[in-house]
Assembly symmetry: C2
Homo-oligomer: 93 residues x 2
Amino acid sequence: MKKLTTNEIAEALKNLSGWALKDDMIEKTFTFKDFKEAFATMTHIAFECEKQNHHPNWENVYNSLTIKLSTHDADGLTQKDIDLAKSIDEIVG
Amino acid sequence: MKKLTTNEIAEALKNLSGWALKDDMIEKTFTFKDFKEAFATMTHIAFECEKQNHHPNWENVYNSLTIKLSTHDADGLTQKDIDLAKSIDEIVG
């Protein structure tokens, strides 16, 4: 999986909403009604991650969920991160 | 819920395995076989958190799970954190 160039990342971010580039990862924070809503959504996302065989760095505190994506093997961002970000946005809706 | 004193925290940590005091929270990192094992355990823990009405700050990256506990309302550690830590250790086994 090829590492995206700075231009490719900028282009990809235009088609994503709320994802920001930070420390060579793309990052977004979601807020839910409560812990149950947050964790239910995490469960949905977890299944999608397994399907895509790509996994996030994610942190949950009660109703807040911060997701950071990068591709460890490529030491940066790849299309896998962009694809997973899109899927996550579709799941959260 | 009463904030624990330094002595009470030290005493409680003696009865917990692998939990360390850091930034006014108790923290422990667990490692699993893979993402599925990690998330399955998180799901189990999530139900226990709801039952105890106490929620962690937790971060997962693939097969690694770091859990930090403190009591926001008490601005420090309380017996709720010690109880949840014990439950988490029982769940992970």
